[in-house]
């Protein structure tokens, strides 16, 4: 459930951004195409980050 919502949220965010780009800049359909693919990539990135398969960056600012 956790992983699937992360993925879906990425795709939805990309879709909304793409739709807004097209709507306000009149770039139909290119904003939707590019940002939906970017949203797909974001979804996979989110899932990788949540499931911990990305190497964790050193958290130097974070005090215990």
């Amino acid at each position: 459930m956790r992983l699937s919502t992360e993925f879906i949220a990425g795709v939805i965010a990309g879709g909304i951004l793409g739709w807004m780009f097209d709507h306000y800049l009149g770039t139909k359909p290119w904003g939707m195409i590019v940002l939906l693919m970017l949203g797909f990539a974001t979804g996979i990135y989110n899932v990788m980050r949540v499931s911990g398969s990305l190497p964790r960056a050193p958290t130097k600012n974070r005090d215990p």
Binding site: R2, A9, G10, A13, G14, Y45, N46
Partner: protein, 251 residues
Amino acid sequence: MAVKMDPIHQFELKPLVSFGHIGNQEIAFTQSALYMFSAVGIIALITIVATANRSVVPGRMQSMAEIFYDFIGSTLRQSAGHGSERFMPLIFSLFMFVLVLNMLGMIPYAFAVTSHIIVTFALALLVIGTVIVYGFMAHGTGFLKVFVPSGVPGWLMPMIVAIEIVSFISRPISLAVRLFANVLAGHIALKIFAGFVPALLAAGAWGIISPLPLALSIAVTALEFLVAGLQAYVFATLASIYLSDALHPGH
């Protein structure tokens, strides 16, 4: 058959007091708002009234309030780190609000407020709005470092920054959808499994296996109590993880 089998019917908003119309949209005090007000009342009862006499050896209600407070305090400190104490009122209110609403929704015939995505999305926007406003207030343009993770090779940077920006926008969506979907799916599953019992009993000889969905709906009820508590905790944890970005941008 007199039993209502529609599993979506329970999520219908019922206006209690109508204030008139704006355009075609009715502005009303719904039962959803009533539940939210009673949740605030219950939280106030637990936290203000129970701790009013401030005894050193806490009574039953006071120790419950203290357990909740300590629990959220340690969660926030673990996930947001140094300087996160200033967000304690926000995270504690969010956790208690979501927890009490989820638990109220588990009472039979009660209405589950968190099964409406607009409620959870408003809460998520509150969190993200706090992150953005506080991030820019505390760090100025340095807050934009949150989009630039460290240790990424230069040629990959434009791609990663674009993905991080979309990822940031997807956060309130995932926060809202997770809570709403869990509560909604749980209540629908509960209603459907419970609805099998009278349906089987009405079907003559098939009534013999009606204890099966009954046992299943009891199990799902227990699971839903777990989900109600867990999702409130997950909401508070994720909110404090996002707030840690505002406190310490540039990972």
